[in-house]
């Protein structure tokens, strides 16, 4: 009995040893891809991968030879995986895609359509679905992945955190993950948007570490508004104010800044601390949908550059009203603009209709692209000014009184 027990334990142990850890990969056998760039090429796709140069990350001295912490490999292939395979002819380690932080698509590719590329990206089990997607505005994705950035010595991380912070505080960029993009693409009542990124400076200068050795780096990566997609094709770019509008309507604004003119000339600046938007749809008697955007905004005054008597509640109320007017007017204008110019439902109005009146939606579904252009949208904003800062009266007014 004991003999049999020992034998079976031995056999089971040998099972562990002989099967040999087949999916094991040590950390120092990996080339971690931090960012992936995809461009069009006459032979298919040009793929560039920003890979962690791990020996440069070593904390101990000796391993490092003073080169940069990332290497960007470039290769061409009929398909994206084909190009990635070919990359192994240059890279000494297995490419590991699970930690991709940003996927940059070249503008040409975006204009041709991104579905084919995204098919691989979504199909591959290694890739997560929560990395950010960007479009290289007026350029190639590979250029974006070749810039040495300050602060974060891994450029992909720099790009990643700048998307986070600009989305949070500036509200004119889009923090769009693969998951979100594909959802918006596949829903019949919405079109996706993607944030653009461009080089501020020359590509050649940005490639060397000399770039960040200067107090004012000659080449920087810059976010450049939102790209509007119709289906899977990029159809145009929005400037800063329309980009903000899109984020307001999609309820993605956390905080941003703005200004409004005073009745007596000059301007008052404000910070938005909370913005809450709800989209709704009503049906008219003829079953024509009519959309409404309701916005609740809480703002703080951050700079007063005109002579108003701000300690009067009426002055604050007047300011609130004029901010509301500005919002109503601008947002309505920008939405119209998108409707007319691109006919792309990046506000997901179709989905709102679909959810509220599924029956009505059925009649629009097949030709929503055209119908969207003629939909009317009302904007109602409500602004509340919460704080006016550490001083009360504008400095220039106090000067006048003396």
């Amino acid at each position: 009995m004991l003999g049999r027990t020992i034998l079976s334990v031995l056999l089971m142990t040998s099972l562990i040893i002989t099967s040999g850890c087949w999916s094991r990969k040590e950390l120092n056998e990996l080339a971690v891809v931090m960012a992936l760039g995809i461009d069009t090429h006459k032979d298919g796709y040009a793929v560039s991968a920003q890979v962690l140069n791990s020996s440069e990350l070593a904390t101990k001295s000796g391993g490092s030879i003073g080169s940069l912490p990332v290497v960007t490999y470039k290769s061409v292939g009929k398909t994206v995986p084909d190009a990635l395979q070919r990359m192994l002819s240059m890279a000494p380690r297995m490419l590991y895609l699970s930690h991709v932080r940003v996927l940059v698509l070249g503008e040409d590719l975006a204009r041709q359509g991104v579905s084919d590329v995204l098919d691989y990206i979504s199909r591959n089990h290694q890739l997560r679905t929560n990395f950010f997607m960007l479009i290289a505005k007026n350029g190639n994705a590979s250029e974006i992945l070749e810039v040495v950035t300050p602060f974060e010595y891994i450029p992909a991380n720099s790009l990643y955190s700048s998307i986070l912070i600009s989305e949070k505080k500036w509200a004119a960029t889009g923090k769009v993950t693969l998951q979100q993009f594909v959802n918006e693409l596949k829903q019949s009542g919405s079109d996706p948007i993607l944030s653009g990124v461009q080089l501020n400076g020359s590509s050649a200068e940005g490639q060397s570490v000399e770039n960040v050795k200067k107090i004012s780096p000659s080449t920087l990566l810059q976010h450049a508004g939102l790209g509007v997609f119709k289906g899977d094709r990029l159809v145009g770019w929005l400037g800063e104010p329309p980009s903000k509008t899109v984020n307001y309507v999609l309820n993605r604004v956390e905080s941003t800044a703005g200004y409004v003119s005073c009745p007596s000339g000059g301007i008052v600046g404000f910070t938005v601390n909370r913005a809450d938007t709800s989209l709704d749809v009503m049906l008219s008697a003829e079953n024509i949908p009519r959309f409404s955007v309701k916005m609740e905004i809480e703002a703080d005054i951050n700079s007063v550059q005109c002579p108003i008597n701000i300690n009067q509640p009426s002055a604050i109320e007047a300011l609130e009203r004029s901010i509301e007017d500005k919002y109503n007017e601008n947002i309505e204008k920008h939405v119209k603009d998108v409707q007319q110019r691109y006919g792309a439902d990046i506000f997901a109005l179709g989905e709102v209709l679909h959810r509220k009146y599924p029956q009505v939606w059925k009649t629009y579904r097949s030709h929503w692209g055209e119908s969207f252009q003629s939909m009317s949208i009302d904007v109602h904003s409500h602004v509340a000014i919460r704080r006016i800062g550490s001083i009360i009266q504008p400095l220039n007014q106090e000067v006048d009184e003396k």
Binding site: E26, N28, L30, L52, L57, G63
Partner: protein
């Protein structure tokens, strides 16, 4: 066997003559120098007292027998048997006196430190309780020290130990059953329990198991523990031990049964439950909220001590996608240039640590310190600088070791140490998948264990809501008016 045949060859009943008695005793004990035969006269009657120097102290007995009392004159007039009775009833001032009529009785008494008085003319001798062993006084318990709470620890003397418990439970319901085990050692054993609180089934089971013990010698309570535990091959202890009288008293008050063994300060408690090994007596001496949090911390430490190295191996060699990206980049940087796979690295470090621990534990304190300094320097710094191991692995091994020390019961710490290596091997071969299977097996094993017929995981599996007040947490005493932990099979 030889012993027994020799014994059988000897006559059992005591003789009448002193000279014959002494001669026979000397044959039985050989020429052992520590056995003292002191001959004296009671009035006119010759007598001899026999004791072992160092174990018994018959000073007061000798004084009592040397008193020039009129009783001794009367003694001469009595018949031999009445003399014994008279001595016993009137002369001897000691508390514990009895009659011994056979050599084995005499032998046993002399060996346990009593003094035997043999009077010429009768084959009935007297034994007098004169045990007096030079022993360690009650000192602070070194294996389970507390910040707040009694400092006393048990000593090597069984009597002293039972008294320490009795002093805490002054109840007539506290019962002590004594017996002797060990063919050669005749070690005294005391089973202590509260009548009415202790489960009779558990008690009967314990008695049966104690009766079944066939051992030549019992020098420490572990001899008994190994004989009475339910599962010989489980890494988990199913018998609790402590050298603190307050812990034992509280266990007895919870309805558990304590087994005290002569010669060791470590007292056994059955039935022992899994939760018990995570409780410290101090939990009850500090505020309940703090005690509850500390208790949770201990369960966390159990998890850390058991799992950290294997989790590190599994995640860093199979599931890199689970790491936050920034952590991954920093880990990759550290592992760069390390020549071994993570598993080998972990095993090297763990074994080195076990060596250090083993080396430090038995060394004199002054040398132990230098061992730990060399250990920290060599392993902590030099190995990382030389690129043999990664800094992260040093952190993993150290946190594992420290968490291991945070477990209040040393013996559950041992189980964790053993299981850790198994889990590391599984993690290295099958990743998290293997670890989960390993943990499921471990869970099943824990649930299958019993201690004296009581399920080991009691209060979790089978779940007992009432006893949750003192299991994972320790709630306020207002919530625990009755003894919650009364153990039932």
């Amino acid at each position: 066997m030889q012993n027994i045949t020799r014994k059988e060859g000897l006559q059992e009943a005591l003789p009448i003559l002193i000279s014959e008695f002494i001669e026979n005793m000397k044959t039985r004990f050989g020429q052992s120098g520590d056995i003292i035969y002191r001959e004296l006269l009671l009035g006119t009657i010759p007598a001899v007292i026999v004791y072992i120097e160092g174990m018994g102290d018959p000073r007061f007995l000798i004084e009592a027998l040397h008193m020039d009392s009129p009783l001794f004159k009367e003694l001469t007039n009595q018949s031999p048997d009445d003399r014994v009775r008279m001595l016993k009833d009137l002369t001897i001032t000691m508390g514990k006196v009895g009659e011994a009529t056979t050599y084995s009785e005499v032998e046993e008494n002399v060996l346990s430190g009593n003094t035997v008085v043999f009077i010429e003319g009768t084959s009935t001798s007297l034994y007098v309780g004169t045990e007096k062993l030079k022993q360690r006084g009650v000192e602070e318990a070194s294996s389970q020290s507390v910040v707040r709470g009694p400092r006393e620890g048990f000593t090597e003397s069984l009597r002293e130990n039972t008294a320490l418990v009795r002093r805490r439970i002054q109840s007539p319901k506290l019962r002590i059953e004594e017996r002797k085990v060990g063919e050669h050692t005749h070690t005294q054993l005391a089973v202590m329990y509260m009548d009415g609180l202790a489960d009779t089934e558990v008690l009967d089971e314990l008695r049966t198991r104690l009766n079944g013990i066939k051992l030549d010698s019992v020098l420490e309570s572990n001899y008994i523990e190994e004989m009475i535990q339910d599962h010989r091959y489980s890494p988990f202890p199913t018998v609790y031990n402590s050298e603190r009288p307050d812990v034992i008293a509280s266990a007895i008050l919870e309805g558990r049964i304590a087994i005290l063994v002569e010669g060791t300060p470590f007292v056994l408690v059955v039935p022992a439950l899994f939760v018990q090994f995570f409780q410290s007596s101090e939990d009850y001496y500090q505020r309940w909220d703090f005690a509850s949090l500390v208790r949770l911390l201990r369960y966390l430490c159990f998890g850390i001590a058991l799992l950290t190295p294997s989790l590190y191996i599994a995640i860093s060699t199979f599931h890199q996608e689970m790491l936050p990206t920034n952590l991954l980049t920093s880990l990759i940087g550290q592992r760069e240039g390390v020549p071994f796979p993570a598993f080998i690295e972990a095993v090297i470090m763990e074994i080195t640590f076990e060596i250090l621990r083993e080396a430090g534990i038995r060394l004199p304190k002054s040398i132990g310190q230098s061992v730990s300094i060399v250990g920290t320097l060599v392993i902590g710094q030099a190995a990382v600088e030389a690129g043999l191991v990664s800094a992260a692995m040093v952190i993993v091994v150290s946190i594992t070791a420290i968490a291991n020390f945070a477990l209040p019961a040393f013996n559950v710490g041992i189980s964790v140490r053993i299981l850790r290596f198994g889990l590391m091997a599984i993690a290295a071969s099958f990743g998290l998948y293997g670890m989960i299977i390993g943990l499921i097996v471990l869970g099943l094993h824990l649930c299958s264990l019993q201690s004296m017929g009581v399920p080991y995981m009691t209060s979790f599996a089978p779940i007992r809501w009432r006893s949750q007040k003192d299991a994972l947490l320790r709630l306020s005493r207002h919530n625990m008016k009755k003894y919650m932990g009364k153990v039932k099979s």
